[in-house]
């Protein structure tokens, strides 16, 4: 077990190193940050060269990479070209909003997926099942930006129930969370349903049923508990993606999250922020993966270490 953990940690370091290498060189393929700093003013050739020099961009690439790597070891990603702020501070600033949205989205997904998944498993093949599944699929049948715009038009502009954007109060969290949660719930509901079905087909549920315990109690007691594990796994795996992959939802709802931080940095070619942001997310993602793998082996020792997980 210890050896396994050590091996995985070594892998993690390798992965982060590889990502740092790829991200460092690939962002430099896509243009340069200096000329977009001048929206007004006079970006003459000399002026651009001057700023490049002062940002250290005229150094040979391997030197720049060395500096970046050295900072990486101490979790110092350097300073943003745009704001002059340390990248780590920028990430910390956004962490609250990012986590709020990630958990909000997950909460909505669970609130939709569990009732739908459970009911459609119990009533498999009936109209309820059919209806529930369509409902959970509707959310993943729209591009998310469209869903967001529609929700704003309906609930903010026309009905005036909810605010349309910003990170201010619980009410502001509702629409973005629904947009995000709808996307997740489609997949999650399917997962819950099939986990439930799997368990319900097993012997002991039938035994329990035959003993005359009410249907509902049976479901709660056995099936639900067994459906929980794959759900947690799924949400865990999604968590990393949720932290950074919610750019569009953040953009529509003016949500100050890490996704927007990174996309703004990409748009401005703010190299330190791109590098820092991506590595930060990568570390979280790999760590979550590791924790899930480990907890699997702890919960269910039958699972071979490093074995299957689909």
């Amino acid at each position: 077990m210890i050896a396994y953990i050590i091996r995985r940690l070594l892998h993690t370091i390798l992965v982060v190193f590889a990502i740092s290498l790829i991200i460092f060189f690939s962002v430099r393929l896509t243009g340069d940050p200096v000329s977009v700093m001048f929206q007004a003013g006079e970006p003459t050739k000399e002026a651009i060269a001057e700023v490049r020099k002062n940002l250290g961009l005229d150094e040979p690439l391997y030197v720049q990479y060395g500096i970046f790597l050295k900072g990486l070891i101490t979790f110092d990603f350097g300073e943003s070209f745009r704001s002059g702020m340390p990248v780590m501070d920028l990430i910390k600033e956004k962490l609250g909003a990012t986590l709020a949205l990630a958990f909000g989205g997950m909460a909505v997904a669970i609130m939709i997926a569990f009732p739908v998944g459970i009911v459609s498993a119990v009533k498999r093949g009936t109209g309820v099942d059919f209806f529930g599944r369509i409902f959970s699929l509707i959310g993943i049948s729209f591009p998310n930006f469209w869903l967001g715009i529609m929700l704003i038009l309906i609930f903010a502009v026309n009905l005036k129930w909810l605010p349309s954007s910003g990170f201010e109060s619980f009410k502001h969290l509702i629409l973005p969370s629904i947009t995000l949660g709808m996307i997740l719930s489609g997949i999650l509901a399917r997962l819950v349903r099939s986990s439930m079905l799997e368990v319900m087909n097993q012997q002991y549920i039938s035994t329990a049923k035959s003993k005359g315990i009410s249907d509902f109690a049976v479901i709660i007691k056995h099936a639900f508990r067994n459906a929980l594990l794959p759900t947690v796994t799924f949400l865990g795996l999604q968590f990393g993606a949720l932290l950074g992959g919610t750019v569009i939802v953040e953009q529509i709802f003016s949500w100050p999250g890490i996704g927007r931080l990174i996309i703004d940095a990409i748009n401005q070619r703010d190299y330190p922020v791109i590098q820092g942001g991506v590595i930060f997310l990568a570390v979280i993602m790999v760590a979550v993966n590791l924790v899930i793998d480990l907890s699997y082996t702890l919960i269910d020792p039958r699972i071979k270490i490093g074995g299957s997980r689909s």
Binding site: P143, W146, V278
Partner: protein, 303 residues
């Protein structure tokens, strides 16, 4: 009982040998979601295949005089000749939606094909050979997942240029991970089955074992995931346009039409609404179909 049986015998015969139509009807009754999905998918496929005969107008013929003409049935002046109205540069929206089916399905099919091939090969290799190869491939997958999709798209586009095929390549190269993980998991559990051991024992080569015994067993999962990914890719193409990384605006892509007309929603609602409905129905169709396939193959599939 006997008399009753006699009385019902004609019906019983028809139950034993139901007519073709009856069988279809029964199939529909049993699988309403699957059938609905099939119909929606077939609709969009036929729109794509027969677009040049269905579309009443040239989908790329711009004309500023008919800019934002409303749908003919909602036009109070009665001047509009366009069934679903005209877009921002005066093209017939209906024709563009019909032709757009081609683009969306192309993105879906070919994108999935690329990721499916890469993902399946890597998943098979990782799962079957295990050890360091497995570790290596799975870590590459981690790297791919950690790399932001949008940045990946920008990088690929600045190296290869832009266009619909570049988008297909970007999607294909990003989403192989899903297939690889799925296939790897299945292969690992298949590997331990009796008949694989048996095949090995009688001297089957690795290639034949994979081809004859493993691949057929993972086919259903590939099919299900592929169907669902088609739906997802159609949506992703729209998101790329939203982020300014989409295809050239003369190409009638549903995603492009939807993203580029999102600000017209209150002034010329048809420009966004109809492409939106087209996307929704098609994506819903593929999702229903995928869902149904999954249920049919193996209701316990963790997808």
């Amino acid at each position: 009982m006997t008399s009753l049986q006699l009385e019902q015998s004609p019906q019983q015969i028809s139950q034993q040998k139901p007519s073709f139509l009856k069988r279809i009807w029964r199939f529909i009754k049993k699988n309403p979601a699957g059938v609905a999905g099939m119909i929606l998918v077939l609709l969009s496929i036929s729109a794509a295949l027969f677009s040049q005969w269905i579309a009443p107008f040239d989908p790329s013929k711009a004309s500023l005089t008919s800019r934002l003409a409303p749908p003919s049935w909602a036009d109070e002046t009665g001047e509009s000749v366009f069934f679903l109205g005209a877009d921002q540069v005066g093209r017939d929206l209906f024709s563009r939606i019909i032709y757009g089916a081609k683009i969306s399905l192309m993105v879906g099919f070919f994108g999935v094909l690329i990721s499916l091939v890469i993902g399946t090969v890597l998943g098979l290799v990782a799962g079957y050979f295990g050890k360091w190869l497995d570790d290596f491939i799975m870590r590459v997958a981690d790297i791919q997942l950690a790399f932001p999709f949008i940045l990946f798209a920008i990088v690929i586009m600045s190296v290869l240029g832009t266009g619909i095929w570049k988008i297909i390549i970007i999607l294909g190269l990003t989403y192989w991970v899903g297939f690889a993980r799925l296939i790897r998991g299945e292969v690992i559990s298949l590997k331990e089955q009796e008949y694989i051991h048996a095949a090995k024992a009688i001297g089957g080569t690795t290639f034949t074992i994979i081809r004859k015994h493993i691949l057929p067993n993972v086919m259903s999962s590939i099919l299900v995931l592929g169907t669902m990914y088609i739906a997802e890719f159609i949506l992703l193409e729209a998101s790329l346009t939203f982020l300014g990384l989409g295809v050239d605006p003369t190409i009638p892509s549903w995603g492009g039409m939807l993203a580029d007309s999102r600000n017209y929603v209150t002034t010329a609602w048809w420009t966004a609404t109809f492409p939106g409905i087209a996307i929704m129905l098609t994506v819903l169709g593929f999702n229903l179909l995928g869902d149904w396939l999954r249920d049919k193959f193996d209701p316990n599939m963790k997808l």
